[in-house]
Structure formats: C-alpha cells, structure tokens
Point group: C2
Chain length 428, copies 2
C-alpha cells in the first residue's frame, strides 16, 4: 500500500511561481530562487523543433535511435565510450532520476546539501533518503568516510541503501568535487555495492574548461549511471528532455531493462518533436558549442559579480567553479543579523530578502540541511533580462555587467545586502 502523507512542492518551482506572481503585480523582483536559465533558444535548435512538428508517433520508449546515438557521441567526446543501446532518453532528467530510483529500488544516499528533488523523489517511491554531508568545497559528493559509516549504520538498522546520488558539478554550492573525492566515492560505492547515479547536467558549465568535472563513471564504470539534459546548456528546461547513460555491465543491463519498463509505464516516450531537436543538439555542431561557451562565459561573469558582493558584505562563499549557483553562509554575521533584524536562519533570510527587497532566494533547508542554518542558495541565471532581445544582448556584450538591466538587478541586490548587513551600498 502506498501512502504519501506529505509531498512537498518543488521548492525551486514554488518560489519561482510566487515571484512571478509578484512581478506580474508590478513589483520589481529579482528572481534568484529557481535555476531556470533565462536565455533564448538557439535559432537553429528552434528550427529543428519546428521542422519536427509532424513527428507524432510514440517511437521507442527509450527515445529514437538518432537521439540515443547522438547522446552516445556526446559522452564519447568526454571520454566515456557509450553504447547507444544503453542510453535512455526521457522527458527531462528529473523523470529519469525518479525512474532510476524506482528501477534500483531500496533506499538512497543523498548528499547534504543537494538538489531539492532527490530526497523528495526518494520519499515518493517509498524509499528513505540516507543523508550524508559533503566535505567543504566538495559539493555534490557525500564525504566518503561519512558515507561508509552512514551506509553501515543504515544496514545495521535493517534499511537497504542501494544507490548514492551525486551532482557533478554541484547544485547548490557551485563547486566541483575534486578527482580524489570522486575516486574515493567510486571505490567506496564498489566496496558497499551501491549504484552511483551521477547527475552531470552542469558538466559543460565548469568555467575553466581545462579542468573538467571528473565523472565517477571513469572509476566505477560498472555501476555508474550518468544523467544529463539540455536544460542548463541550451536553456530549454521547458522543452523537457534528458538522457541517461547506463553502465555497460551486468548491473547496467539489468538496470536498463527495469528503467525502460518503468518509463513505459509512466511516460511512454519523450516528446517526439523535442527528440529531433535534442538529437541535433547532442551532436554539438559549432553553433551549439559556441552558444554553450557564450552562456558559460555569461554565467561566470554574473555569478562572480554576485559572489564578490556577498563576500564583501561579510558572507562566506566557497570559490565558485561552475553552474550559476552560490551557497553563501551568513554565519559570520550571525550576531548582527539577529540583533538588527531578528534574522536567525535561512528561512528568516529568505523572508527578509523577499518581503523587504523582492529578492527571491532559497533557504539551505530546501537542500536538505537540518536546523535551518544561516545560509541561502542564490541562482544568478535569470538576471540576463526579461525578454529575448535583452538576453541575446547579454550573451554577446563585451561587459554584460554594464548592461543597464543587469546593472539594475545588481543594484537591487546591493541594496538588499546593504540593508541586511548594515553596510554602505557598494557601487561598482
């Protein structure tokens, strides 16, 4: 019997919707809660979707041959040889992650902090998340030593952890776990017989492309499932497309069969016109790689500008290496925030910034942190403008920070931070 007494709404989507309502009501809001990428669709990608509007058949459950072959090539160019027969496409990497949890079964180890939906999805399928903290600066990967202890304790208590989810690069911290951490995680997963589900949707958004994130699929190839999508690279979250790469092993082939069965019962197949566009995009023709490079540059410039402001205001921020996320810790300002504003935790921070300044952010608690720490996640991917014209200008501007609409957003952020910390407003 299933029972889901408490199903939380996705915190990112809920916060975005609430903020959009305020914006429509005429408020000047600063949307830094959800990680939607506020950039236009690449014109050729748009044309591919439009040209495939006559594609109305379901096609194969795991996606078309063309899409799977294209995704396999994408991974091969990143050093992961891939059998298209072990690729499964779905309507987003989120449903693929959900279906993977069902297909693996058992309980799920999740890093703390981690993306809002891993633990919620685990609970939806009747599993219990086994939370394991990350080590500082090693976002997305449970601290390997604590992982061993947590899994051993869970098993001793009669629970059945069978997989560990990792995020490389990481949401919410914007960091990338080191190759050493990934290697230790992979070795431990093998020792503990855990499947690794490696969410690599941000893998092309590491700023220094000479130091890519290392996939655990290199070190535990027999047990690592890799997922990605076009949501972050090409800003088509609303199209709903993702792909999973299953291990070429006994574990992988068994899991593939179960995943395809689950997919057949939940969503049938990914949207056919989107598949055609995705097959093109994963082929990475020059205009696609150029667009990804341009957006990566824009993300880096804006996220660093915001990181600098947070640091200047006295918050602790890990050096951001990827994504569009920051995870500032306001602990150093604890006394001032309590005294001046009655702000004691992340929830208070969110309320203060939202209600007084229209700045939408998420509390650390949304990422699985207990005890409501004085931290928030700040997403910078919607500061590029409110329409396609401005967003296109942001992609190509020599200095995006000088664009008036981005400057206004940053000034709003400055004002909010200054009010929060009691500092003078910094004008760059």
């Amino acid at each position: 019997m299933s029972d889901a007494p408490s199903i939380p709404m996705s915190a990112t989507l809920a916060a975005d919707e609430a903020l959009d309502r305020r914006r429509r009501a005429g408020e000047q809001v600063l949307p830094m809660a959800g990680g939607e990428i506020g950039l236009p669709v690449l014109p050729e990608l748009r044309r591919r979707l439009a040209a495939a509007a006559d594609a109305n058949a379901y096609g194969p459950v795991p996606g078309s041959q063309a899409l799977r072959a294209s995704a396999a090539g994408y991974w091969e160019r990143r050093g992961l040889a891939t059998d298209p027969g072990l690729v499964v496409a779905g309507p987003g990497s989120k449903p693929l992650l959900f279906a993977l949890l069902l297909a693996v079964g058992g309980d799920v180890v999740v890093p703390v902090p981690s993306w809002v939906s891993y633990a919620a999805q685990a609970r939806l399928v009747g599993a219990r998340p086994v939370p394991v903290p990350i080590a500082a600066g090693q976002g997305g990967v449970p601290d390997p030593e604590r992982l061993r202890a947590a899994v051993t304790a869970a098993r001793a208590a009669g629970r059945d952890p069978r997989c560990v989810v990792v995020t490389l690069p990481d949401n919410p911290t914007g960091t990338v776990a080191s190759p050493g951490t990934v290697r230790r995680l992979a070795a431990l997963a093998r020792e503990l017989d855990l499947v690794i589900v490696s969410d690599e949707i941000y893998c092309d958004l590491v700023y220094d492309t000479s130091v890519p994130a290392e996939s655990p699929a290199r070190h535990a190839p027999e047990r690592t499932v890799v997922t990605t999508g076009l949501t972050k690279n090409l800003a088509v979250g609303g199209w709903r497309t993702g792909v999973a790469r299953l291990p070429d092993s006994g574990i992988g082939r068994a899991l593939h069969g179960r995943l395809v069965s689950v997919a057949s019962q939940i969503w049938s197949s990914p949207p056919a016109p989107v598949q055609a566009a995705a097959a093109y995009a994963f082929g990475e023709p020059p205009e696609v790689t150029e667009r990804v490079a341009a957006s990566r540059r824009l993300h880096e410039i804006v996220v660093r500008a915001v990181a600098g402001r947070l640091t200047a205001a006295g918050a602790r921020v890990a050096p951001v290496r990827a994504t569009c996320y920051l995870y500032p810790d306001f602990g150093p300002l604890r006394d001032h925030l309590a005294r001046a504003h009655g702000v004691h935790g992340g929830e208070d921070l969110v309320r203060f910034l939202g209600e007084r300044h229209g700045v939408g952010v998420l509390p650390a608690g949304a990422f699985g942190e207990l005890g409501d720490p004085l931290r928030i996640r700040v997403a910078t991917s919607r500061l590029y403008g409110e329409d396609d014209e401005r967003r296109t200008a942001a992609l190509t501007a020599p200095d995006p920070l000088e664009l008036p609409w981005i400057r206004r957003y940053l000034e709003q952020f400055d004002t909010a931070l200054a009010d929060l910390t009691g500092a003078r407003v910094l004008r760059a």
Copy 2:
C-alpha cells in the same frame, strides 16, 4: 523502502516495437497490438507547435493559464463546469494517472479487463490493485455489486482501497458502460468513500454522438477526477500531452495540491511548445472538430469491418460503440483451435497470429485477465496506411475500405483468421 522486483514493460509499447523491428526487416506486418492512432498531425496544430518553438521556460507546474482555461472550456462544452484552477496538465495522461495514484495513496480498484498500465502503475507506487470484473458489455466500469464485495473484503483483510479507476469509453472492449452502470458506480464510490479516476481519453470517439458516454463526474462530482488528452482525438501520442480535471470540492482541492506537488517532483511541467498547441486544440475551432469527426468516422468504418470478419469467423464480439478496439472471445472455437493448432489461450493466439501471419495483437492477460482466456485485443488504428499521404487519403476517402493498402491489410487479416479457424477466406 521501495522494492519493485518485477516491473513489466508496457505490453502495447513492447508489442509495437517488436512488430516495428519485423517490419523494418522487410516483413509485411499488420500492426494491431498498440492503440497508436496512425493519422497525420492536423496542419494547423503542427503550425501551432512550430510557432511555439521559442517557448523554453518551465512555466507553471500544472500548465499554462491558456491551456488550463482551454481545457476547462472543453469540459464545459460537455456539461462539466470546470475551474481552470483545478485543471492539471501533464506530459501525457499516462503520467497524470500515475501521479494521481501517488497523490490519492492507498490501493486501487481496477476493472478487469482494463488498460495495461493501471495495474502496473499501481504496483510501481507500492499499491496493490484490487481487480473487479466488469459486467458483460459494460467495459471499463467494475461491476458495481462485485465492487462492493471486493472493497469490503479488501478492507476486512487490512488493505486500504481509496480509489477506483474507470475507462469511459472502454479500452480494451470498445464498449461504453451504460448510464445506469455509471450511476450505480458513482453511488457506490460515495458509499465506500472511493475517489473515482475516470479515464475519458476516448470520449470523443463514441460513434453515435447522440449517445455520449456518461461521466461519473455528473453523479459523484465531489470525488471524480477526469483525465483526457489529445493522443486519441488528434493522433499526437508522441507529443505527450494530457489534462486532468479535479473535483471542485474539499476532496478535489486537497488532491489538487498533492497532484501538483507530485508533478513538480517528477516532471516539472508539460513540454512548453506542446502546451501552446494543446491550448489551441482544446479550444475546438472548426478544423479541429472536423478532423475529430473525420477520424471517428474512419475508426468506425474500419473497426466494424474487422468486427464483422471476427464474427463471421466464429468469435464472440460485443457490439463495438467507440474507440478502435475489439476484444473478441474465441471461446466458441475452443475445440477446433486446440485440435488444429494447439492453441489454448490468448498467449497461443498471439503467437499463432504473430509468427505465422505477422499480425500483432495482445492477449487478454495483458489486460489483467487471469487464466489466459482465449481472447485477444485487436486495435485497428494503424491500418490507415504507412505514410501521411495514404493516411490523409484514408481520412477523406468515400469508402476507406476500398483503398488498396487498407484492403491489403484486411486481406492479410482474413488470411490469418481463415488459417486459424479453418474457414475459407472471405473476400468482401
């Protein structure tokens, strides 16, 4: 802890894929297993999708305001006043049904026979289906008297049935439960405190439009969720779009909140370009209603032609009133089939027709029938031709049965039936 030791692949999708492989290998196959509608996309619908190719934002989890308002209008024109705020759109009605089972919780009453995925979805969420047979000719609705006994027994055994799924009109039988049966079902659901999930995806494919299927939402409005989509009406199964109408009641509003939360954690939002096209389609401009009428006519002509052949061959077939499905019972030919071919049940029938004649059908067991009865489900919706040109011709032909490709399909069916039953091949 979740555990799903046996997850069956969707029987319809699996059979379709197997048949497609044989077709690509050069065999002349007759695809009557899955219910995909083999018709082209309506040109204006295709244009709407293409024009929305720049829609890349997630938008609201339950779908855009425009889509929900349009779906509400669709239901209002069918006598069901609908609050757009209680409409939830998803990437297909299949994921909506899955999410509804999670949102309601508990065990699920399913009719026998019924669509392949209800029981499979229930098992995926850790629920146990409570199977209840239909009364003859009342497909899609559990026989109300047996429903009471089954729910009472299940509760006495400590189980927790909380909802009943019905299909109006019905897949696999092609029948439509009578208003009397629907009324009794609604009264019993109220008495037993069950939510009714009414899958009405075939509601516009009742041949005699003066006698529409009656929705239980008329009789138990406070507890009936209605789902539908564009897959059957407009042949866009591969686009993945569906809508659910939740009751305007305390039950409905609570369920709506849970459904949206589940949706936010599994699929985020329906594909945005598809939403734009769906908003147009649910508005039912003249070209849409004309297309639905033309395809309904075509379905009726072809399904009746196949029904006539089955009856002439000695199978029992309930009078088909809707959909593109037949559910013939070969019981009257039991002795002959056993003696002549060693065919004893639906599985044997499927093997015989598939291996000897390239005719793909599904066994009754795929629809939840126990004991492998001597029945199959026959879908006629892919007999209209293999390309858009032929399919368009089929839609407008004065006598579609005279089109050479449809005639060839029917001859292949005749040959298979004649071989099976030992009769002469009937040439119309």
